[in-house]
């Protein structure tokens, strides 16, 4: 009974919300209200502690924090708030974080009401069997309509909202109501403290002193320093150095973590790859018979070449990728060479956002200027000689004559959208070679669309296009369906008659002409005039399908050179030379890294 008594004073919950509905601000207020963080130490949006997250207003990796709460009746509770990422690239991480909880606060903006992402997140939480506690936020806004918002929550999601907290996280109004609702409505955890250890890994990060800090939610059993832990997916074993709880400003050692609790384990583990999210930690001495369900190793969906803009910084780029990988099991990389770009790495990512985040972190945290090639998925090629090969780099795409059948990965996508945007989104899916499966009305105003879509189309900014065509309301989820036959071609680009490998990509036959023309035009606009005329050609095999020309430079001359100030004239030339040094030599043509990126960047017309 002591076990149950202990657990009855624990609540594990997360906060889910549509972007901008105030999730992080509410989290800050909860920390404040429980005096977990003194007001003077508050930094806006404490949980999102990466710069990038603060700027983008999204949570990239899960985070957790323990709150000590004294209820008005004098009882002491431990509340573990587990934050979740909010992007489809990280859907798997979200599902694991939710699995570590018994309940979720569903934050709804009182002036906006329920939005698609609210709904999608609510379904994720319902799938994870969580108790959902609605919280109506932003009631300080003049346009707030609390009653309408309550009615919507009941009608659309089908959960009671009578008496749910109505708060303003921004001004700190009614925050204690939220804590009371957590105690009242979120179930206490259940589990058997005496059973073999089963702890769900919901996040981990690398610390240069401690090694990997593994964040876990214990289902059964207990764990303490000195125990020998074992990862159930790999059998890897480590001696535990410390266990403890996750405090707002860091880790706090404790003697033991027990069933129902949330905390961390350190064991001098060298890489987060050893403790992947979703895996189960048990003890080597008394292992659990089966792992917690739902584990899936990190899977790269998108590949791209990343090169240092300055070739001399190849070593720095490698070091930076190694450092990031310590903390990101989903990041893969291996060296590759491009004739055009020199030495770099082929990198694998969960999705496009993940790729952008890695790029930005490399640039910001490691001060690297990068050139990134067009993202690609993995294609499967059956050759005429009977062999099968997987292609993650267009440069390795076999000659058309060798290919018996090409396959591309296809996903089953589920899109939830207000009915107003159904037409737009069906057009979008059609444009992206989607195959319509079905359409279901969730209620009078909301529709769920199912499409089979090539993953290669999804990675081309599909998520952004979806958002822009639904004014941000539609949400997307997808799961791999497998490889399907497809008419693929490799599109090559030639500058001055020489093929530039870094510009090649694999594309569906039907889209090749449009893309070829577009990129040829962009090359024309971005390649500076050279001393000679530069023909640009797009080709499939030996067949030229689009062409443009960059005219030769006509004028670049220092008209006046008098007065004897030769040093300055020389400096002008040297400056011009410096500019040229940054240029990449693509065959006989020079192009700046910025221009190269501009060519590869997708713009609105292509979305």
């Amino acid at each position: 009974m002591a076990n149950n008594e202990r657990m009855s004073h624990i609540r594990n919950f997360s906060i889910i919300a549509h972007i901008d509905h105030g999730k992080s601000t509410l989290a800050d207020r909860l920390l404040e209200a429980t005096q977990t963080v003194a007001q003077r130490d508050m930094e806006a949006q404490l949980l999102d502690n990466m710069d990038l997250e603060r700027e983008r207003g999204i949570t990239i990796k899960a985070r957790a924090v323990k709150l000590d709460y004294e209820a008005p009746d004098g009882e002491h509770y431990t509340l573990n708030l587990i934050d979740t990422p909010g992007h489809v690239d990280f859907n798997y991480e979200v599902s694991r974080s939710l699995n570590a909880c018994e309940g979720a606060l569903l934050v709804v903006d009182a002036s906006q009401g329920i939005e698609a992402q609210t709904l999608a997140n609510a379904y994720l939480a319902i799938d994870a069997d969580l108790e959902i506690v609605p919280v109506i936020n932003k009631i300080d806004l003049p346009s707030a309509d609390i009653e309408k918002c309550r009615a919507e929550i009941e009608d659309v999601i089908g959960i009671p909202a009578e008496g749910c907290p109505a708060v303003s996280a921004k001004v700190g109004l009614n925050i204690p109501d939220v804590l009371e609702a957590v105690i009242r409505d979120v179930p206490a955890p259940e589990g058997d403290e005496d059973a073999p250890l089963k702890a769900l890994v919901f996040d981990s990060y690398y610390d240069s002193y401690l090694g990997v800090v593994v964040m876990v939610r214990l289902r059964d059993g207990s764990v303490r320093a000195g125990d020998r832990m074992m990862m159930m997916s790999t059998g890897a074993q480590f001696d535990i150095v410390d266990v403890g709880t996750l405090e707002p400003f860091g880790l706090k050692k404790c003697d033991v973590l027990r069933a129902g609790e949330v905390g961390y384990i350190t064991a001098s583990i060298k890489s987060v790859g050893d403790t992947q999210v979703g895996d189960t930690v048990t003890l080597a001495t008394n292992p659990a018979t089966e792992a917690l369900p739902g584990f899936r190793p990190a899977q790269s969906m998108v590949y791209a070449g990343i090169y240092p803009a300055d070739g001399a910084r190849y070593g720095d780029l490698r070091d930076a990728l190694e450092k990031l990988q310590l903390n990101d099991a989903a990041l893969l990389f291996e060296p590759e060479t491009s004739i055009a770009l020199g030495f770099g790495f082929r990198c694998g990512f969960l999705g496009l956002l993940h790729m952008e985040i890695i790029e930005e972190r490399l640039e910001r945290e490691f001060n690297l200027d990068l050139i990134t090639t067009a993202p690609s998925v993995i294609y499967k090629i059956e050759k005429r000689d009977g062999t099968v090969t997987m292609i993650d780099n267009p440069s390795n795409y076999p000659d058309a004559a060798e290919i018996a059948q090409a396959f591309e990965p296809v996903v089953r996508a589920s899109i939830i959208t207000p009915t107003d945007f159904v037409g737009n989104l069906m057009d979008l899916c059609q444009d992206r070679r989607g195959v319509f499966i079905d359409m279901k009305y969730l209620d009078q105003t909301r529709v769920e669309l199912h499409y089979d879509l090539p993953l290669g189309e999804i990675v081309y900014d599909f998520f952004d296009a979806l958002k822009s065509r639904s004014r941000g309301y539609a949400s997307l989820d997808y799961e791999m369906k497998g490889y399907e036959p497809s008419k693929l071609v490799k599109l090559d680009f030639l500058l001055n008659g020489e093929q530039v490998d870094a510009l090649s990509f694999i594309v569906h036959e039907d889209k090749a002409y449009g893309r070829a023309r577009k990129i040829a035009e962009k090359l024309k606009d971005n390649i500076p005039r050279q001393l000679f005329e530069v023909p640009i050609q797009a080709a499939i095999g030996a067949k030229i399908i689009a062409r443009e020309t960059v005219k030769a430079m006509r004028k670049d001359v220092l008209a006046k050179c008098y007065g004897g100030d030769i040093t300055r004239k020389k400096k002008l030339l040297e400056k011009q030379k410096e500019g040229k040094k940054k240029m990449r030599q693509l065959g006989s043509v020079q192009i700046s890294p910025e221009a190269f990126m501009a060519v590869l960047k997708l713009d609105d017309e292509e979305k």
Partner: protein, 378 residues
């Protein structure tokens, strides 16, 4: 062929005063200084000539050039004093080319006669354009008519060697307006013409307004340039440098010193000197200069390699280009071995390359910066 200035040097005297600053000008000059400042400046200029005479005692000067600024803002008396001081303390050949830059509306026939008497034998006059709208757009302090009158006055005063400047790529300039400017220019029959395109230099009002200036685009400037060069060639002016044209024997001897990397002494604020391998500069600090401070600083001591590259950078400005034998005599190395890239540019039609000589073609001149930036200072 032009005369060689072997073992002779140029003397440059900077006069940093103007009626008003032109909107494109980044030379060191100040508007609105009074006659008293002019006199004090000239006094300092004479002092500097005396001070530096010893260090350049080995040099024989065959050119003197008063640049600015607007040297003709000074009274002929003051300019004459400077020239006399230079003649007294430096070794200046009797037949030296003595040029004064002259802006229209700053000199009448009487003043120019006095300059002539003081020993000035060449004037460089800033016509720029024969279109008053274009002159206003440039912020020039004169009309086309005033320029024409100044040229006539110079002829009256006995000047037989006049250079006129015209500018290409002026805001609002068209083929027609350029035609009128060239007609006016040729009607004045100067011995020498500088025809250069407007350059937006940092720190000028034009540079700051570069995004809104109605400048002709690259292709138009190229067309205007070709039009001007063809007209000048047709009228008997041979191009001898990127932007300079002359009747036979009237090439600017002073400017040739710069392009051939001969020695030159620059006196006055913001003036530069090359003495042997040492580049010197005078700080552009009028107040310090007037206070009697020594403003001369070493800018650079040229290594063999840099000296060679500068020689090529400057020499290739000339139509005659680099004389490979002279190069060998000067540097003790073979030009062809040091600059093999020339062959490639020759194949592209940008350069001429013979066993004796390397030079830009007309096509090459137009893009010479891009070529030099590739070829030099590696």
């Amino acid at each position: 062929m032009m005369k060689k200035n072997k073992a002779t040097a140029g003397l440059y005297l900077h006069i940093p005063f103007c009626l008003q600053k032109c909107l494109y000008c980044d030379f060191c000059s100040f508007a609105g200084q009074d006659g008293d400042t002019h006199a004090r400046y000239v006094e300092r200029l004479c002092r500097e000539i005396v001070d530096r005479a010893v260090s350049v005692g080995q040099l024989t000067f065959d050119t003197v050039y008063f640049g600015g600024g607007t040297p003709t803002l000074l009274s002929p008396d003051l300019l004459g004093r400077v020239l006399d001081t230079a003649r007294t303390h430096l070794c200046i050949l009797p037949d030296a080319e003595v040029t004064v830059e002259c802006n229209p509306a700053t000199a009448d026939a009487a003043k120019l006669s006095l300059l002539r008497e003081a020993g000035v034998n060449r004037l460089s006059i800033g016509l720029q354009s024969a279109d008053d709208g274009e002159l206003r757009a440039l912020g020039r302090a004169h009309t086309a008519k005033a320029a024409i009158e100044t040229v006539r006055a110079a002829r009256q005063a006995g000047f037989g060697n006049l250079s006129l400047d015209v500018m290409l790529g002026i805001p609002h300039q068209t083929r027609d307006s350029l035609d009128r400017t060239l007609d006016t220019l040729l009607s004045l029959s100067p011995e020498h013409i500088s025809a250069y395109s407007l350059i937006l230099e940092e720190g000028t009002p034009f540079y700051d307004a570069r995004d809104t200036l109605p400048l002709p685009d690259e292709d138009t400037v190229v067309a205007l340039t070709e039009q001007a060069f063809a007209t000048l060639a047709g009228a008997g002016y041979a191009r001898y440098e990127i932007s300079n044209f002359a009747r036979a024997g009237f090439e600017s001897r002073h400017n040739l010193h710069y392009w051939r990397m001969d020695d030159y002494l620059g006196v006055g604020i913001a003036a530069h000197s090359l003495i042997g391998r040492e580049r010197l500069q005078n700080r552009p600090d009028l107040a310090a200069y007037l206070d009697g401070e020594d403003i001369t600083e070493r800018e650079e001591l040229l290594s063999d390699e840099v000296a060679r590259d500068e020689y090529v950078m400057l020499g290739l400005r000339l139509v005659e280009g680099i004389d490979k034998r002279e190069f060998r005599e000067r540097f003790g190395l073979e030009f062809d071995a040091l600059y093999p890239a020339i062959k490639g540019y020759a194949r592209m039609g940008l350069m001429l390359d013979t066993p004796d000589r390397a030079a830009f073609t007309d096509k090459g001149f137009a893009v010479s910066n891009a070529v030099l930036a590739e070829m030099l200072f590696n």
